[in-house]
Amino acid sequence: MSPEAAVTTQVRPQALARYCLALGDDALILTQRLGEWMSRAPQIEEDMALGNIALDLLGQARALLTYAGEVEATYTGEPARSEDDLAFFRDEREFRCVHLVEQPRGDFAFSIARQLVFSTYQYALYSRLSRLATSPDPTLAGIAAKAVKEVDYHRDHAEQWTLRLGDGTQESHRRMQAGLDEVWPYVDELFTDTEDAAELASAGVVPLPSSLREECERRWTAVIEQATLQVPEPTRRSRGGREGIHSEHLGYVLAEMQHIPRSYPGSTW
């Protein structure tokens, strides 16, 4: 721990609320993309598997958004915004998800490549979060401890498919490599040390995003090589999602997701 960090005994709730929103938004927006697969998967088993992953991510999103709303209320003095307030009544610029989860679902190979990246990242993140035994934030650690078990399965699912597609037929090999190539420009953004994350990390509340990278890369490389594929070397990198600067896709995801509650404000469902 750096001397500077030792001084920081308390984190600003603003940073914590924004951090939870970011994680919750990642999970929520990917739920939307995975939900699009249901009734469109290559086989019924995958309709179920992708639905199951979507359901887990939605559960994580709900817990994280609820908590973000509670933390936020400690400094706004307003009543806490609920998970639904946050999901349905924020605009594009207020979302904090990474570009990776916003991208259209693509073909099955793209979706698997994205899931490989995201689940590996989530596993690294949640396992570190849940191991922060002395965490000053037991709520976040608790959410992570539950989620890490789910994400372990998601990661396995994505790895198994990466192997099958990479080492299956010529066509599946080509598509899986193309899927990885398309996804890789969005990898870097996951490990950005935002101001909020850095502040929280220095207080020992969360791991520093960049510190998760090595573990993830080791795991990806092993699977990708076993699948006879190559780890892409992208020439462009997405950035800005955590600050509300998104790809153009997010607006459409939100328009679809939010339109009913916004058309009937004040209604309960």
């Binding site: 939900g35 019924i44 209604s267 469902w269």
Partner: protein, 357 residues
Amino acid sequence: MYGNDFSTEPSEPLNAAETGGVEQAMAHEDRRAQLLSEAEVADRQEQFDALIAADQRIEPRDWMPEAYRKTLVRQIAQHAHSEIIGMQPEGNWITRAPSLRRKAILIAKVQDEAGHGLYLYSAAETLGAGRDELLDALHSGKQKYSTIFNYPTLTWADVGAIGWLVDGAAIMNQVPLCRCSYGPYARAMIRVCKEESFHQRQGFEILWALSRGTSEQKAMAQDAANRWWWPALMMFGPPDAESSHSEQSMAWGIKRFSNDELRQRFVDMTVPQAQKLGLTLPDPDLRYDEESAHWRFGEIDWSEFKRVLSGDGPCNAQRIAHRRKAHEDGAWVREAASAYAAKQAKRTAQAREEAVA
């Protein structure tokens, strides 16, 4: 697990799976061994007849008449296809569910439907009909699915109406199938009915929330009830006088009650629920008959049923095109999975040989 936390007299059964039929089927006493060991029933047709007469289950390895097998394959396949096609009208609302809780319930429901499809295709497989072959028959239009799924889900309230009415009608049809003479089908139905019962309650709960909401929400619920009521009644099939497969299926213990009988039970159970929801049903002839203690309902428009069944419904072409596209788009994935499995098997065999050598 999800939902069901509303308090509309929860002790009161809301669908046919909550009135003891499933438990009754689960309590079925297996006397196959005893019956089959009796020497006088050595002939295979006689054995089959004796099992049916004693209300015992026929199991996959038993001899069975070809017509019995064909009837079951047709019925189970149609049922499996209905689960798979049924994912579409509801899946249509996953990305638009109006709260995160509703979204979770809906994803879980559509996932259950995929699961039901799987158990049912497996049950058909025990009769020698493979999933690929059955899916081809669905895609080519050779086999049918429930015509109810040829109607569109136009508003959020439709998701509620499907749960309440369509799942309610399906459960009414399926609870007696938990006692079907074919063992794998009966066992699949027990599991399916339990899950469907949740879905029906969740659908009722969606409408319950709308019916206590704003005037716009109430109107949405009423509109959905208006559009789904008659198609739900049609789900029980043509009137008894015109039902072509019924008699033989009854004799074989596949079917237990007639179409009209089940339809009447459904109406009797559902009308009071509509009243509780504050919804009217679109039938001017609907009235309670004190003498028979039944709700009497008006004439069903069978010409519409036949029209939709024959392909001229609002979504027939769309449902099949969607299903075929998913299947065709996924062909390379399934091929890759087979190719990989074959490579793996070869590698394992090679490794074993090397170990021996």
